[in-house]
């Protein structure tokens, strides 16, 4: 009898549990043929399933260009279904903008089409992809079920690409992860900096070649005459404010790490430094600051020893 009741409970609860694991992806049209799928400005969790990344797609007359595939197989499938509600055009090209797992672990849903990334990104995904995926299983749990790494099969070179009425300029930067693709669509004026820009969500630094490098590349982006910019994390903007926030925050990080090293602070002491109130609107700033100290402070300490 007891077993029967447990069995009944399981039968009743299973569908509700399954229903919980559905990404509620919405596509917002931000320019001609250009759709933005905005994620939450949260950390990875079993509640949000890793729906914390922005993806996008451009519907050209020669097929759809998919810009990042999300955090899991389930996300990739949801994204493909969403694209299908907007267009019947075939998928032309799928892009993984850099090596981080929330941008390529949805590749399985797009495995029938060419998936391209920068050469270095391809190598990074081949090398670290499995351990990234493992970490995602730990962070978001069952949302990841069935997710496996699909390494991009094509290399995209920086430069101009004319496709289906869109004049696309691909750029290779490095500030966020060592190899960061940036796209400027000259036809619509939409700039896709991907994770080179976080807006209202604290930037992450596990693979940055350096804060100064990243800041200099933000200055390059400031020179681009865009009408709309879609950050990799955080809401879209139509002006310079996201780039200004990035520039300011990167500068502050560099300055606080350098000053702390000069004072001889230990890592735990740096982590308690207060973040200026002008950054109060940035989600996850405290936890990301602590992570950044872990990633970068040893280099700043080393520089002070050498003085």
């Amino acid at each position: 009898m007891k077993h029967l009741m447990i069995l009944m409970l399981l039968v009743i609860s299973a569908p509700t549990l399954a229903a919980r694991l559905e990404y509620d992806l919405r596509a917002e049209q931000v320019a001609d043929n250009t759709w933005f799928v905005e994620g939450k400005t949260e950390d990875f969790s079993v509640e949000n399933g890793g729906h914390i990344v922005n993806t996008a797609f451009i519907v050209t007359t020669e097929g759809v260009i998919v810009l990042d595939t999300g955090v899991s197989r389930r996300y990739g499938e949801a994204l493909l279904a969403l694209i299908r509600t907007r267009t019947d055009q075939p998928i032309r090209l799928v892009i993984n903008t850099h090596q981080h797992p929330d941008h390529f672990l949805g590749n399985q849903a797009f495995a029938d089409w060419p998936i391209a990334a920068l050469g270095q990104t391809q190598a990074q995904i081949r090398q670290h992809g499995d351990s990234f995926a493992e970490n995602m299983y730990r962070l978001v749990g069952d949302w990841m079920r069935g997710t496996e790494v699909v390494v991009p099969d094509q290399v995209i070179e920086p430069g101009m690409m004319d496709v289906g009425g869109h004049r696309l300029e691909w750029m290779e930067l490095s500030g966020h992860s060592g190899a960061d693709l940036v796209l400027f669509d000259h036809s619509t004026g939409v700039l896709f900096p991907f994770d080179m820009v976080f807006y209202q969500r604290a930037l992450t630094t596990p693979h940055t070649p350096g804060l100064k490098q990243w800041q200099q590349e933000i200055e390059q982006l400031q020179a681009i005459p865009f009408k709309v910019m879609l950050p990799g994390h955080g809401p879209k903007v139509t002006d310079q404010r996201a780039l200004e926030q990035m520039h300011d925050y990167l500068g502050w990080l560099d300055q606080v790490l350098a000053a702390s090293a000069e004072q001889g602070l230990s890592m735990t002491e740096v982590m308690t430094q207060s973040i200026p109130s002008r950054f109060d609107g940035i989600a996850l700033r405290q936890v990301e600051f602590e992570r950044t100290v872990s990633h970068l402070y040893p280099q700043y300490e080393e520089a002070v020893f050498d003085n």
């Binding site: 004072q263 001889g264 735990t268 936890v287 992570r291 872990s294 990633h295 300490e301």
Partner: protein, 255 residues
Amino acid sequence: MMRIYQWLTGCAALLCMNVALAAQPPDPLNSVLWDYTRNIFLGDVDYRFNPDVRVDVPAFAEDPTQVPITVDARALSGNIERIVVWADLNPIQHIFNYFPSELASPKVSLRIKVQQSTAIRAAVLTKTGEWHIGYAQLDAAGGGCTTPSMGNADPYWQSHLGEVKARRFAADDSEGARYKFRVIHPMDTGLVDAIPEFYLQQVELKGPEGTTVVRMELSPPVSENPVITFDLDDTRSGYTLWMRDNGGNEFEQTL
């Protein structure tokens, strides 16, 4: 009948044990290994949890091979025999012992390896024989103790073993000085296949007359290429750092 008698004695013994345990303060972190580890490091003695013995760790161990911790026992300054620091759930639990002299300000920072989320303990034995326990809970994905040291993939350490970089800074409070140093050493735990245990065991900071001002005994969970920060209530210069590893190598450097 005999069996019932045995059973009753067993129950009585268990009850007595519970009473004895109840007399000791319960672990605020509710770690399953608290009673086991405190028995190893303290023995069967009285103790108290004391929040004035501060253990600072990050909210999350971003890199489980390099987790920063600071132990600050300045609240008991002048009355400290030794500080014992360990991680309850590490395969090698002991991290370091710290022995201050009168010229030491008992605050020390370094980086450690952790294998999983764990309680970190700093047990301070006072000169009057009391144990004061500081603690912190560290969240981690883990694997820090069974990952090969970076040095094993790169022969750099072999020609730079024991090389020290150090600098003196102003103290973070009152009168005194702070020394931070970084030494090249793989600090291998012996828990990785085919890589034997190889780590710094002894660190001493000696004053101008050669007397030891701070002495530390390290265990393998101290991170590779240790970075250690000491605080002193002494502004004199002329300090030296002396270290020895379990291979018998000795290193000495004027700071």
